[in-house]
Amino acid sequence: MNEMTKITTLKDWETDQEVRWCPGCGDYAILKAVQRTMPELGVRPEDTLFISGIGCSSRFPYYMETYGFHTIHGRAPAVATGAKLANPDLDVWIITGDGDALSIGGNHTMHLLRRNLDCQIMLFNNEIYGLTKGQYSPTSRVGTNTPSTPYGSVDRPASPCAFALGSGARFIARGIDIHKDLTNVLKAAHAHKGAAFIEIFQNCIVYNKDVFDEFAAKKTAASTQLLLANGEPMLFEKGAKGIAMDRETLSLKVVDVVDGDWQAAKVIVHDVTNRSVAHMLIEMPFGEFPMAIGVLYDDPRPTFEAAVVEQNAKAAEGKKPDLQALLNKGQTWTVTEDGPEL
């Protein structure tokens, strides 16, 4: 945090534009969570850039009193890469949807992650194309009935976090639109230097209402959510259950924890730098297992823009940007009034 930075409040991050989501949409909660979190990050609105693609979620930048770019469908990661390389001091947030990031934009998402551009990617996963009025998306579950799949969808859905991991992401987290913990996830993502990928389960109340209820609903949360914290054992059901490693099958299993003795039950202590365990947490089938929420993986690596800046500086080291000399490079000859001479 820059010490000169003026202290901001939620209000400083709100624009004068009317918010145009459907009443009740999960996007409102996320917007508020972000606007609430920004002052705590000690950043300045003028150094902050929100970049989005196209979708309901992608309207987000219009509501943030920062710089913002509502680009074209699927290309926000690429636009962000250019902006960040052009000015590495900008604090870049990418706002995208399951369609925007994983359907048309999957490739840019993957390349941003593998290159490790320093930014936060918030993927609003509502398992549907909201803006175009409710067709199924790459994250929709098999059998989803939509205008384009009147008999139910047959495609196997993508897992955003598995995709991110396979793409080489070094920070992966999950949050829920109306979950109060979302702020902490955002803070962790911001603290991570490099590409921070956050999947946010977002309720599209119009086209895919309450699809996440089975784990997002508050009343059953204790038994359906595994809230992760680094260095803490993986417990849920108020500590009565935990996640352990099955030494036979080399995969995770749910164990009962008796009297809080999780050590005895061999419950795993969450280590955000363990990539293999992160993979298992991501792929845990819900139902048999709870849904892992929070920071699943966090193990920074050098960032793309830092490497570019460093290489540019090194290559330029000791060289003067002398345009005339550049033009004159190579073998030249002079023509005088009398003709050429070497």
Partner: protein, 629 residues
């Protein structure tokens, strides 16, 4: 006119003077013909001759040695007068193997000279070239002069002292050949020797071997009494091609891709803005990415993106962030960028898009030249999406065009399309190096504080350009996007009247660029008259030469060459209407002609060629002839 190497029956030892000579080096892809051609070009340029070159690559993949499709050729036309094309027909063909002979000999002028490496005309190579008999022996080349030399053996001999392996040693064949060529045209060897020493600084043996081969080839010409079939028992002598009259100054050779890259750097400096270049490799555009990635000290950031869409999107992001975004590709890649160009148009950000055109449609002919993306440049986007388009006519013109593209982009806050093509990209010509001090700067100003009356990101200056605001600037936070924007405010606006007005503003802004460009000139001939030959881009050379011939022959013909494809110079309509006839030679099925007919209702007649090869002068000659009668 070209006088080529003719039968030398006066046995004089004085170099013959030639106005211009066309030499074609042809060999296997592995034989280093492009390098040989390039160095010959350099030495010719250093001697002050004017010149134009045409590198003719095989299709993308390195073919097995000796095959017909693996032949690589390099043609140079040089002379003591202005040279505008690489020449219709070679006077001299240097053929390093049977395949090179087969694929190139038909273009050779009747009576022209063939120099063939007889050492490569064994059974295997003849088979690969689909020759039943050895053409060097069966008399089938009778209409040309033929000089058979076992260049392979001579080279091996020359480099023996350096103890290289056979394969390694044969690599110097091209230098031997170059040595001979330098002798033939009385060129200096020193620059090449210097170049070899630099290139192989870490491999002194290889450098020495190459230099030895070069010297050996040269010495061979000097000492051997070269004679051959069709030389009529005469000897081959040297031909001196003098210096072409050119303006005093410092010169170098430059290819289109180089000149264009340099022009972009110059443009960015004149605009006083750092450059961000987003590209994705594609033939023949990649060369620009390669050049620029070596120029980081000029505040150039290059980014090899995951595809063409990401490349332009990143450039747009960089422009929003305050750098000058540039992207470059060829036909298929430019097609992919269409949607994003619309975004740059809507968000009114500066952006330069370079299209190095190649043969289409689809993957088409990646290594061949064509001008068939003009439609795509002017019309190829969804919606009413106007964008300035300019086209370079030659390698050195590419430098100026690049600066011009940058100027228009930053002064009008608009994407600009710059067209070049495979021919220009690879061809080299002598270039009078511009004096940087004489280039006019056009520094941009960012809006950096709150204007009176509040922030209006879509307010406009007298050019209809909106302000450029860098994220990071306090107070000026604002949001842009691809949805229609409200007048002045730039907020989302779906209103009917607003859309009508904004569409008109976008159109008028681009049309307004015409206020800042020079009137269309007549490159040669009179303003008004019987026939105008109107061209654009790389057809400049053949059109100019053909019109010159016609004018010299007293015909009423003019050459008009359009750089500003969109918007066009304001006087163009009147100018075209001052001719009885207008013909438009293009390397496509008739694209510029559509613009001319639409804009000016002149009966512009298309002259089209789509063979992946530049026009020959003769082809334009014929068209002129036909349209004068």
């Amino acid at each position: 006119m070209a006088t080529a190497l003719k039968q030398d029956d006066n046995s004089s030892n004085q170099p013959e003077s030639a106005e211009n000579v066309v030499v074609r080096f042809a060999g296997d892809s592995g034989d280093g013909m492009q390098l040989t051609g390039g160095q010959f070009t350099l030495s010719t340029a250093l001697a002050g001759s004017d010149l134009a070159t045409f590198p003719d690559f095989p299709a993308e993949i390195r073919a097995p040695q000796g095959t017909l499709f693996g032949v690589s050729a390099f043609q140079i036309n040089f002379g003591s007068r202005a040279i505008e094309t690489a020449g219709d027909e070679p006077d001299v063909l240097i053929a390093m193997n049977p395949a090179a002979l087969k694929t190139n000999v038909d273009a050779l002028r009747d009576g022209g000279l063939i120099i063939a490496d007889a050492g490569e005309f064994g059974k295997r190579n003849l088979d690969k070239a689909k020759y039943e008999n050895n053409p060097l022996e069966d008399g089938s080349l009778a209409k040309w002069q033929l000089l058979k030399l076992d260049i392979s053996a001579l080279t091996l001999e020359a480099v023996k002292p350096f103890g290289l392996g056979n394969k390694e040693a044969l690599r110097s064949k091209n230098m031997w050949t170059l040595g001979l060529a330098l002798w033939m045209f009385e060129r200096e060897r020193q620059p090449i020797i210097d170049w070899l020493n630099t290139k192989f600084a870490k491999l002194p043996d290889v450098a020495a071997a190459n230099i030895a081969a070069l010297n050996a080839g040269h010495a061979y010409g000097e000492t051997a009494e070269l004679s051959g079939d069709g030389l009529g028992g005469g000897h081959l002598t040297t031909r001196k091609v003098g210096a072409a009259p050119s303006a005093p100054g410092e010169y170098r050779t430059v290819t289109g891709a180089e000149a264009l890259s340099l022009g972009l750097v110059a443009g960015a400096q004149l605009a006083d803005v750092p450059m961000f270049f987003g590209g994705y490799p594609i033939t023949p555009a990649s060369a620009i990415l390669h050049h620029l990635s070596r120029l980081k000290e000029f505040d150039v950031t290059t980014f090899q993106a995951e595809d063409e869409i990401a490349a332009i999107a990143a450039a747009i992001g960089a422009s929003y962030a305050g750098k000058l975004g540039i992207t470059s590709s060829s036909g298929p890649g430019i097609a992919l960028k269409g949607e994003a160009m619309g975004l740059a148009i809507m968000t009114e950000l500066p952006l330069v898009i370079i299209n190095s055109q190649r043969g289409g449609p689809s993957t088409g002919l990646p290594t061949k030249t064509e001008q068939s993306d003009l439609y795509q440049a002017v019309y190829g986007r969804n919606g009413d999406a106007p964008m300035p388009v300019i086209a370079a006519r030659s390698p050195s013109d590419a430098f100026e065009c690049a600066i011009e593209a940058v100027r228009i982009a930053v002064q009008y806050m608009t994407p600009v399309m710059l067209l070049t093509d495979g021919y220009i990209a690879n061809a080299a010509e002598p270039w009078k190096i511009p004096d940087v001090a004489s280039l006019e700067p056009f520094p941009v100003t960012y809006l950096d504080k709150m204007p009176e009356g509040g922030l209006k990101p879509y307010s406009r200056d007298e050019k209809f350009a909106r302000p450029w605001i860098k994220p990071g600037t306090p107070e000026l936070m604002h949001r842009i996007g691809g949805i229609e924007k409200g007048i002045d405010t730039g907020h989302i606006d779906y209103g009917s009247a607003n859309h009508q007005k904004m569409t008109e503003i976008r159109r008028d802004k681009v049309l307004g660029v015409a206020d800042s460009i020079p009137d269309q000139d007549v490159a040669l001939g009179n303003a008004g008259g019987k026939l105008a030959v109107v061209g654009w881009g790389s057809t400049y050379g053949p059109i100019h030469q053909a019109v010159r011939r016609a004018v010299e022959a007293g015909k009423d013909v003019a050459h008009i060459h359009i750089r500003n494809i969109w918007p066009m110079p304001k006087n163009l309509g009147d100018l075209l209407k001052s001719y009885d006839r207008v013909i438009v030679p293009e390397m496509n099925t008739g694209q510029l002609k559509t613009l001319l007919r639409d804009q000016y209702l002149v009966d512009a007649k298309p002259i089209n060629k789509v063979s992946g090869q530049p026009f020959t002068i003769a082809e334009i000659d014929a068209a002129i002839e036909e349209n004068l009668s």
